[in-house]
Symmetry: C2
Subunit: 214 residues, 2 copies
């Protein structure tokens, strides 16, 4: 099977920002919102917004823009955010716990049913209302809970072996917050989140500004 690759990845990455703006318009009671307005808010080109929205299948109205209600639905449906996805947190450290508490994900259908950790002090406790179970029980746990997503936030050295356990447990998708590139079968969906890459960008911008080379 081919490696999971998303067409229009840059467009897909921008959709959540659009959704955020559109939701604001929705709360303000607007029935229509134009690509021009969205673009303005996000400092983008209107044509880019229109092209991006087109992938969700939404049809706009010349002069008025896009119907807000339908647009929210189209984006959410395209992303699968209109359905609940059961998830487990693997590694309930600082970052992991923070992710559990991140309200926005729940709004987008990410539903944590359990967390796993090796620390005996933590096992049996709850973080943000989610029970922390022993890492030793993870294989059975995932199977019986039927979780489809694992949010991986263990220390890097344990990332690969933990991923392998997740695969054995039948997990479908791994959201990888470690800085380790995971070696897993092609049919497993993996999305790696690398905080350092954003910091690298910030750092280079700072360097550029320092030398007045922009």
């Amino acid at each position: 099977m081919a490696k999971n690759k998303v067409s229009y990845a840059p467009s897909v990455r921008r959709l959540p920002s659009y959704l955020h703006i559109i939701r604001q318009a929705q709360r303000a009671g607007d029935y229509y919102i134009s690509g021009t307005i969205i673009a303005q808010e996000l400092n983008l080109e209107p044509i880019q917004v229109r092209k991006d929205l087109a992938i969700t299948g939404i049809i706009g109205k010349p002069k008025k823009g896009y119907p807000v209600e339908a647009l929210v639905a189209a984006i959410e449906h395209y992303l699968g955010w209109d359905e609940v996805h059961e998830a487990v947190l693997v590694g309930a450290g600082n970052l992991g716990s923070a992710l559990l508490g991140y309200q926005e994900f729940q709004l987008h259908g990410l539903h944590f049913v359990a967390a796993f950790d090796t620390d005996p002090e933590k096992i049996g406790q709850h973080v943000h209302g989610v029970p922390i179970l022993s890492m030793d029980t993870i294989e059975q746990g995932i199977k019986s809970l039927g979780a489809e997503i694992a949010v991986l936030a263990v220390p890097s050295p344990r990332a690969q072996s933990t991923a392998e356990t997740l695969v054995r447990a039948g997990i479908g998708s791994i959201w990888n917050f470690t800085n380790t590139k995971l070696k897993v079968p092609d049919e497993i969906v993996v999305q790696r989140e690398d905080l350092s890459s954003g910091y690298a960008l910030l750092s280079v911008m700072m360097q550029n500004r320092k030398g007045r080379v922009v």
Copy 2:
């Protein structure tokens, strides 16, 4: 002044991953590492690795690869990670505190000197050894501490107003973890980290797999 934009942004984003691999080789005692090996580890094309590394100015040796020691130095210098950058955390909630505790950033020169929060319960306390100060004192605080980077992790609704305070306090760079697009003067460096965009990508991959459309 032109909007801060990084040339070769995709390449810059990959550099931290390379650094990670190269450091491993360094610890293993290797004197040279080839682009081929790095590519293999990260599932990339060797030519891409070579092109990316070229922007740091490193010169490799045909047949052997790149000198490990010099390569680490070249990447770190290119990113400015060989110097200390003083930073403040603004918003000591779940995510913010997790970022403070993230060891890796310290390794790359990010040095937190203070955190600011509005919660009276937190003020006066320490997170990961860093004192939490009152948000009311942020303007003076940043000025006297001389911090150049602010890591912004306040609730979204307060993001814009907080950013304006940061600008008044003379901050140079904002690493923005809120899902709000900040409106600040062009000379301020802003890097926005959007966790939802990665989740969107994961979601679409899951959708694709479900329909066996890859």
